[in-house]
Amino acid sequence: MGMTSTVPDVSVDLAPSNPRELVLRNPVIPASGCFGYGQEFAGAIDVQRLGAFVSKGITPEFRSGNPMLRIAETPSGMLNAIGLQNPGISRFIRKYPPMWATWEVPAIVNISAESVEDYEMMARRLDDVSGVAAIEVNISCPNINAGGFCFGWDARMSADVTRAVRRATTLPVIVKLSPGAVDVVEIAQAVEDAGADAVSLINTLVGMAIDVRKRAPVLANVTGGLSGPAVRPVALRMVWQVAGAVSIPVIGMGGISCVEDAIQFFMAGASAIQVGTAAFAQPKVLMELVDGIPAWLAANGYARLSDIVGVANPRYGTEPD
């Protein structure tokens, strides 16, 4: 290169085949449930510099969530059983999107439900709400019409939800995969076929902890979702598998805490990343990623982020069999 060093292009379109597109200035996205509704972090970081953010999971009705204790620290990780505490879709729509509509950073709304009809209803209600840039569908939820079996563990149920949401909205639709599925690749391909614009993974892994003095589970809910650096190798493996098997963009997450972690996910085939638990301990990690990813690319001679996406994944970008 000559005398002038150019700033690498880190912009990314997460819904390339959707006319409403989802173009982000950079690939750094705080994860659902770890960033509140965006305003909570405004005192700590410059939220507007993020690529986008995902809001706390919303359900059809108000939920007060699980009783205490809801969180427990584990080795390099944490368990959470918040129980989707949220105001419900109606109050949510009145309260938050009007504020986001004045923001520069795109807001992605995470939705959870216990029936296909409820997912569809929420997507329909969000479709023309100003301030909402995209929908992320959390399919790690029990299907009450299937005995509480998790939607995201079954390819047909995952596809049913995706198809219903796709029918209800022209917004970009990201389907968030559950790591509890026996074959996450099968689920990813099913939701791609059903019309998802992108997939994100991983959601938390189900775990638990026992308080030996009380001879009882630490969490009131008994089990909780494991997140943080402890899950990163598992998450990276799943992102690598899925990115090698679908043609839509993959958003990787699970334990990302620094620039090098993020680069690993890009090299596995993620087009963008989400960050959850690490930002609890250090909100500044989000800003370090926003600045550090282009810096890493520049230092390693890359002109754009897309140049490293999938470089460590021989199946990335090939036609699925």
């Binding site: 972090f41 700590a44 205490m68 918040i82 943080g228 638990t277 609890f280 909100p283």
Partner: protein, 268 residues
């Protein structure tokens, strides 16, 4: 020196004083930016990263009540009892070590402007936020009675830590100083005097305080604020991991609290 990190709540602060207190606990004083020192109010806390920054374990910050601030010196002090891994790490940090701190966080104790007489009820490290509240109240010309309970004389907050104007009354389980028994045994004598009661300590102390207050006060006066402890992840209202069940629904200990009106709390 305090280094700002380009974020509005996180800063790096060098430890400038470490003093043993209350048995095996320590008072750790670190440098803090002017905005943080000035912003801190009684009842608020800071979240301190309690590990080597290169490590990811223990992952989450630990919350500590602000014990004292010194605007002219530009410092903040916390009272740390070695308990598990995070607090043990913090207690071992020597002079000159640099802490990664977030805060001040949470809502301060709500002292009504007309309140003239404040009663503090402290147990263990719950002494910390009440020490700061006492100093601020005395500076504002108010009267303070500080009740403290501990296992023995050696684990009480030393009287020298409190402003001279404060009436300090103690209880020890082993009877080595003051009243023999619980701090809550001392409370009834002061309920008629106090305009407001402020409390921080372990859960059993809160329960016994609630019972004593219910038995001895007239109507709903004085009101009692309790600064509760919850495991915290974010400290800024984002994770909803630290909630407290109240008559107005689930509230976060880190933003709406840590102090709540006793009559608002729902006791499981």
């Amino acid at each position: 020196m305090a280094t700002e990190l380009g974020t509005k709540l996180e800063f790096m602060g060098e430890i400038v004083r470490v003093e043993p207190v209350m048995g095996d606990s320590v008072l750790t004083t670190f440098v803090a930016p002017d905005w943080a020192v000035r912003a801190a109010e009684p009842g608020q806390f800071v979240q301190i990263l309690s590990r080597d920054p290169q490590s990811t374990d223990p992952l989450l910050r630990r919350p500590y009540s602000v014990y004292r601030t010194d605007i002219s010196a530009g410092t903040m002090t916390v009272l740390v009892r070695p308990y598990g891994r995070g607090s043990a790490w913090l207690c071992e940090q020597p002079l000159g070590a640099v802490l990664d701190v977030m805060g001040p966080l949470g809502s301060p104790f709500a002292v009504r402007p007309r309140t003239e007489r404040l009663l503090m009820v402290a147990g263990g490290v719950g002494a910390a936020p009440l020490l700061m509240l006492s100093e601020v109240a005395v500076r504002a010309g108010k009267q303070v009675t500080y009740l403290m309970g501990a296992q023995d004389a050696g684990t009480l907050l030393p009287a020298s830590e409190l402003p001279e104007e404060v009436e300090y009354v103690v209880a020890t389980i082993d009877g080595s100083m003051g009243h023999t028994g619980f701090v809550t045994d001392l409370v009834p004598a002061y309920l008629g005097w106090a305009d407001q009661v402020f409390s921080c300590g372990p859960e059993p102390m809160f329960r016994s305080l609630r019972d004593v207050v219910h038995r001895h006060r007239l109507g709903d006066r004085p009101d009692v604020q309790m600064a509760v402890e919850r495991p915290m992840a974010c400290g800024i209202g984002a994770c909803l991991g630290c909630v407290v069940e109240t008559r107005r629904g689930m509230r976060t200990a880190c933003v709406d609290g840590p102090a709540f009106d006793m009559d608002e709390l729902i006791w499981g």
